[in-house]
């Protein structure tokens, strides 16, 4: 009796998950179809790039700086025992470019911009603004969702690159300026970091994260129940699913790349 109930629930939940995934897939295709019309109206895109990208910049800069500083400090404490402080720059740069830049900026991005996208779109749905657009013969997927999606997709890799760059400067601040390691040794990494395998792969990661995290954010908003509780839950889901997706995909991509 109880076992039956358990299976019933399991089956029900599994079906729900697949239904949601199916909706998300169709939604994605429909939004992709709206991208050309966004490209023809750059002003729509600019406005979203500003709110999704530029407004996330301060968070990314501050976080990147501190992460770089911590990396420098921890790296120094470890490497100094081995007398290998000349590798510090390389340690900081590789950690950032390969891992921490893409991953942390994706997590921060979903918390800052993703949640905002979900809440905004969910509220537009709850207040019938999306419905109203449809009745004005304007497709909200093209007019509202597509520009936001494209903006997130474009902003994320840029933010990740900025995160890594500012992190390397943060490391410099601690290692060279405060601890006094030779600047030339710190910058040696610029010759050792391989552009293709390290930098490029890091950028690929951030492109994938940007795609997935923004997709989650706009889909959750669009799919939210049109009530205050529905929007609040959708916003939470955006942050949680984005974190899972980022970390899971990071493992997968790392295994494939390095």
């Amino acid at each position: 009796m109880n076992i039956l109930k358990v299976f019933q629930h399991l089956g029900h939940d599994t079906l729900n998950i697949f239904q949601t995934l199916g909706r998300a897939m169709l939604f994605f295709l429909h939004v992709l179809g709206g991208i050309p019309s966004v490209l023809m109206r750059p002003r729509l895109l600019m406005a979203q790039l500003y709110s999704v990208g530029v407004l996330s910049l301060a968070l990314i800069l501050v976080s990147g700086l501190f992460v770089g500083m911590v990396l420098g400090l921890q790296g120094y404490n470890t490497l100094v025992d081995f007398g290998a402080t000349e590798s510090l720059g390389l340690v900081v740069a590789l950690s950032l470019v390969r891992e921490l830049g893409p991953v942390l900026s994706s997590l921060l991005f979903s918390g800052r911009a993703g949640s905002a996208l979900t809440a905004e779109i969910g509220l537009m749905k709850a207040t019938e603004q999306l419905s109203g657009m449809e009745m004005m013969a304007v497709d909200p997927l093209k007019r509202v969702i597509a520009p936001r999606f494209l903006a997130g997709f474009l902003a994320m890799p840029l933010l990740a690159v900025i995160f890594s760059a500012i992190g390397i400067l943060g490391g410099h601040l601690v290692v060279v300026d405060m601890i006094g390691v030779d600047a030339g040794a710190y910058w040696q990494m610029s010759e050792k970091v391989d552009f293709f395998s390290d930098v490029f792969n890091g950028i690929i990661k951030s492109i994938v994260f940007g795609l997935v995290v923004t997709w989650i954010a706009v889909f959750e908003g669009y799919d939210a129940l049109p009530t205050s509780e529905g929007v609040s839950r959708a916003t939470t889901r955006t942050v949680v699913f984005s974190a899972f997706a980022t970390l899971g995909l990071d493992f997968l991509l790392t295994a494939l790349m390095f």
Partner: protein, 267 residues
């Protein structure tokens, strides 16, 4: 009906359900060109749902809806969007875009669907706002408007593209007596001045009967009565009588179906 205007919206044998519950069970309905047709019924009878079906946002389970001879549920997305440009809809909430000003809200459909120069758009927007008496408010944001003003702005937006038909969802609900009066007159004047067809969905009997040419009364998924304004006022149908004269008891029960009250309390 005395004069036979062409029919803009024709609904036949419409069925629509939500879950296991029938919202509409075999409904026939005609909307005549140039008239104001009221669709009345208690809250939750599916008046909003009916407008969404006419606008093609929902699909019927069975039956047909023709708008200007086009079968809504058979239209391609493109054709449906073409048709929607000629239908204005006033949502109960107004559904104004909250992040842009009154002016930009009214300009929205014009900017989306035409390539008019900005000076022309300005003229059109100000004309539409003038028609609803809110030209002076064009710089305000939607959050700065009262409920009645928001609805009038939404009306200006709904008529921006000079539609052939406007659908009003509960235009009088939650309005103070003054803005109620303003809206009642506005719907009448705009229908005449712009040569429109109007569908007014409402449960406000007095206001609606002031302006409606023809009335349908819905209850429990059926059309329980229809006729010209005068016919409805003097209807012999118990259902219609109960609704029009706002009586709590009659064929439409005040209580949601429940166990016997005494039994329920003593359980």
């Amino acid at each position: 009906m005395p004069d036979n205007n062409p029919i803009v919206v024709k609904i036949r044998q419409l069925k629509f359900s939500r879950g296991a519950r029938y919202i509409f069970d075999d409904i026939d309905l005609d909307i005549q060109r140039g008239k104001i047709t009221a669709i009345m019924g208690p809250s939750g009878t599916g008046k909003t749902t009916l407008l969404k079906l006419i606008g093609g946002q929902l699909r019927p389970d069975a039956g047909h809806i023709w708008v200007e001879e086009q079968n809504i549920s058979r239209l391609s997305t493109n054709k449906l969007y073409q048709l929607r440009r000629r239908m204005g809809m006033l949502f109960q909430s107004g559904a104004l875009l909250t992040d842009i000003s009154v002016f930009d809200n009214v300009a929205f459909p014009l900017r989306e669907h035409t390539n008019l120069p900005e000076s022309m758009i300005r003229t059109l927007v100000l004309m539409k706002l003038q028609a609803v008496g809110l030209r002076g408010a064009h710089r305000l944001m939607p959050s700065e408007l009262s409920g009645g003003m928001a609805r009038r702005v939404a009306l200006a937006r709904a008529i921006a593209l000079d539609p052939m038909m406007v659908m009003y969802d509960e235009p009088f609900t939650g309005q103070d007596p003054i803005s109620m009066g303003v809206l009642v007159r506005l719907i009448r004047t705009i229908n005449q001045a712009l040569d429109l067809t109007s569908i007014v969905v409402s449960h406000d009997v007095n206001e609606t009967l002031q302006i409606a040419d023809y009335v349908y009364v819905l209850s429990h998924g059926k059309v329980v009565g229809h006729g010209t304004n005068a016919e409805i006022r003097h209807s012999q149908s118990e259902w219609v009588h109960q609704f029009i004269h706002a009586q709590a008891d009659g064929p439409v029960p005040f209580h949601y179906p429940a166990l016997d009250y005494r039994d329920d309390l003593l359980r």
